[in-house]
Symmetry: C2
Subunit: 335 residues, 2 copies
DNA sequence: CATGGCAATGTAACCGGTTTCATGAAACCG
DNA sequence: CGGTTTCATGAAACCGGTTACATTGCCATG
């Protein structure tokens, strides 16, 4: 494994010149540049990233803060994989690697410093945060420390922090409009955890569209869940006595749970109750009769996150407003 | 951001002593050790990983080789996320970070070196390979270079390379036995790409169990797909003329596709045709009437991969035989 | 009481790059 | 033609750690 010194010696130039060939090739004469590049290829020279990071304090690594501790909420969501793939691909295209950060061991498992320490030790250039709404103090510590941050579906702002989100309010409106168009009048909804931003936005959009249509949503027609299937099932059971003709579930998993409750009650979809979800996860297309849903652009989210972090690394200020991606109605058999 | 020199000065000791406090605390006297640790906490000293890596050539990072280039196969599989979470958690517990490697930009996108170069530049200690069966030359380059490797569902061996896999053959037998127990005699199967190891093993196990039961599998009762839904649908269409009473699909996605073809043919599940899948992905539980399947232990795979890589980093030789995790029959409505 | 061994620590070389500053040669200018 | 720029390059400090080796003081030993 040849070092820069070795290469410099073989080329009969100084290490500084070799360094320049790789970093600022325009200031080295075409002749030596060529010579050095040829020789580098011949001996298989690869600049050592640790040494480079040590000298420049830039690592070309973006940290991923994703707390997969099973005691914590939010770590699993069936479309995170799609987002992750898009994020990783887009970063790769820029030559950036994605470092999935382990919480620092020096700090305790609940320490506010557990991510910040890992970030600082590795000179990570910026971080992407996947945290599903629990305003974890360890995440806030990153924002406070002014690490360049991009949060997914989380409303964080700061001089170095921005967020990416789907147009949740718009999606809520899409859902409402769709049900109204189908002629429904007794409409109920299953929301996510009310304290989370996406849940609040979806509900707000949904409610606003209904109100504008002259069919304001009664509080009794709102049940909340935790995004996961069982909670959708339970919420639907609570709503059944209100005998709605249509239900908007703010997440597809909850929608599937609700469908199960509807079936168990001996009712038919969409004949007796229509249902519309949110997210467009894989199962939505597979569960009969097909779940109508408001699709999030998962690939778009991942890509936008990569673009946002890259822009910040290049010196752009963090946009104060979240980057909002459009949602789209996918009509299937359930409405 | 204080350096080791700064800390040493404040403690009135040499940098070597400070270094020892963090690396070999047992050889420094309790008094100074305590003093240094206290002072370190006070000034928020964090050892710089790049400097450490430069000096030791160990990075405490495990590389993840997962080619998410959409032109290549195998990058998406609905349960990769579960494996990834388990892998990351298990590595985190050992203080290891997971670096999702971007293909090296210096090498061309199809270069055999594209992962190896990235690995070498970053002094990654070992790699985990997710590659779904396409014996990518760039992956082989890692094996050849004797980078410690753990491959998932891929039969790679070498002095520094081992693999983790579910007991695919055993799973195939489980499926066959289950169908036999249910009294089926006209049994067909949808396999994965025949050249991939998991597909071959599942088929082999399935076939062996049938043969032992005196019901050898006819070649005409075998159709193959590419793991994804549409191919299962198409394969089932090809099998329908054989009028099987039971079908084993070697992957749940294909099974769901097959179910669709069965329904479209006006047949009922399990009344007319029973179907059993493999994997136990999320949808299996959700698609009516519930897909009986052979479950893989996704969390187990991720955890085993972490353990294998850790063992190799600690100096154990790479096990020549794959680590095989048990599969389990999950009975649902489809059989 | 000299001596050898051990425990604790310090000194300094080294890991492999980047970058500031200095230098020499060539080009440019009036 | 002397003086000033400009361009290409080199020398050396520096980034922040680790570690081989040297040094010191102390204690047990013969």
């Amino acid at each position: 494994m040849s070092s820069i010194k070795e290469l410099a010696r073989r080329c009969g130039v100084s290490v500084a010149t070799v360094s320049r060939v790789f970093n600022t090739p325009e200031i080295v004469s075409p002749g030596t540049r060529r010579h050095v590049l040829d020789m580098a290829a011949e001996v298989g020279y690869l600049p050592n990233e640790s040494a480079r990071t040590l000298a420049t304090k830039k690592s070309n690594m973006v940290g991923l803060v994703w707390d997969t501790d099973h005691r914590r909420p939010g770590w699993r969501h069936p479309f995170l994989q799609d987002i992750l793939v898009a994020l990783k691909s887009a970063l790769s295209a820029q030559g950036l690697h994605l470092l999935m950060l382990a919480p620092d061991r020096g700090a305790g498992p609940d320490s506010r410093q557990r991510f910040l320490r890992a970030v600082q030790r590795h000179n990570v250039d910026g971080v992407v945060i996947i945290d599903n709404g629990s305003r974890d103090p360890a995440v806030l510590a990153l924002v406070d420390a002014e690490v360049p941050c991009v949060a997914l579906d989380l409303r964080f702002t700061g001089p170095t922090c921005t967020s990416i989100t789907s147009d949740n309010a718009g999606g809520g409106r899409l859902a409402a409009q769709h049900l109204i168009d189908r002629g429904h009048h007794r409409i109920a909804t299953i929301t996510g955890p009310p304290e989370t931003w996406p849940a609040a936005e979806r509900l707000a959009g949904f409610r606003a569209a209904l109100t504008e249509a002259g069919q304001p949503l009664a509080d009794a027609d709102i049940a909340s869940g935790d995004w996961y299937l069982d909670s959708g099932y339970a919420a639907m059971k609570r709503l059944l006595p209100r005998s709605p003709t249509a239900v908007f579930a703010a997440g597809d998993e909850m929608a599937v749970g609700a469908m199960r409750a509807i079936h168990e009650a001996g009712l038919r979809i969409p004949g007796d109750i229509a249902i519309i979800g949110f997210d467009d996860i894989e199962v939505a297309a597979l569960v009969p009769p097909g779940l109508t849903t408001v699709a999030q652009d998962k690939t778009g989210i991942g890509t936008a996150a990569a673009e946002a972090i890259v822009a910040m690394l290049l010196g752009s200020p963090a946009p104060a407003e979240p980057t909002t991606l459009p949602t789209a109605l996918i009509t299937r058999g359930s409405t």
